[in-house]
């Protein structure tokens, strides 16, 4: 029996529009997705906006290039003197006041706060930056 050509044709789902749409979705998600994890550093703001507290012994003034001024000493962050200082402060629950000299970038200040947090000194107040 002779079957007409169009009757024998198998119905196929056209894939091209599907691929088009999937590609557009893929592009959208590739360009708009972010894999960076956003976290936060928390600190108390009881001294926020006030000048450095009078308790000179428990304040850190951040200088450029990872150095901090403690009292009248300039200590390099990560040095043995700095570690000893933090170890001494860990025994007391009083807050530590941190300020930065004007011009010190935010990422250095955050690195200092992060280091204090990692050392177990979470009770930190941030004061306004200091100009000299």
């Amino acid at each position: 029996m002779l079957v007409p050509e169009h009757a024998r044709r198998v119905l196929r789902v056209p894939l091209t529009p599907l691929i088009d749409v999937v590609f557009i979705l893929l592009l959208f998600f590739m360009l708009s997705s972010s894999f960076a994890r956003q976290q936060q550093i928390e600190f108390k703001a009881s001294a926020a906006g006030t000048p450095l507290q009078q308790d000179e012994a428990r304040r850190l003034l951040l200088h450029p290039r990872a150095r901090v001024e403690v009292g009248d000493r300039l200590v390099e962050i990560g040095s043995a003197a700095y570690e000893n200082l933090l170890a001494g402060w860990q025994r007391e629950p009083r807050p530590i006041t941190v300020a930065a000299l004007q011009g010190v970038p935010v990422h250095e200040l955050v690195a200092l706060l992060d280091g204090l947090r990692a050392a177990g000194l979470a009770n930190v107040d941030l004061a306004e930056s200091v100009s000299r």
């Binding site: 691929i19 894999f35 906006g49 010190v104 990692a118 306004e128």
Partner: protein, 133 residues
């Protein structure tokens, strides 16, 4: 004619592995990725903190131009006055102020935020950071 139809069919079949991979990629980006609003000129500082950023808090963004934005709006005048209008209660005692600040700005860029926190009696501040192990 018939040869051409056969060739088309073979071509479509050859596309199937590619479509499979594209679908897998699509599913990967949909599940693993996180769609966040793109903030131009705002690179977050890095930290190893594991604390998650809370939602529904007052958020101040300071991009590379140093101008504070609250919920995408530029704060022209005093930041404290602007924030006071957004606080749920009359006092900010229970509020948490979240700050996104560009990593290369001077630390003095945070001063208006600190002053606003003092004026509004906000006791807790957060700086959003990018996690780095």
């Amino acid at each position: 004619m018939r040869r051409q139809a056969k060739a088309n069919k073979a071509g479509d079949d050859g596309m199937l592995p590619m479509i499979n991979i594209i679908f897998l990629l699509l599913v990967f980006f949909m599940i693993a990725g996180q769609i966040v609003p793109r903030e131009d000129n705002l690179e977050l500082p890095a930290s190893s903190s594991e604390a998650d950023v809370g939602v529904g808090r007052i958020e101040v963004s300071i991009a590379a131009d140093g101008v504070p934005h609250v919920d995408g709006e530029v704060v022209g005048g005093d930041l404290a006055t602007y924030l006071a209008s957004r606080l749920p209660g009359s006092s900010g005692n229970a509020a948490v102020l979240t700050c996104r600040v560009h990593r290369d700005l001077p630390a003095s860029a945070l001063d208006p935020v600190l002053r606003a926190a003092r004026q509004l009696q906000i006791t807790t501040l957060q700086i959003v950071t990018e996690w780095q192990p």
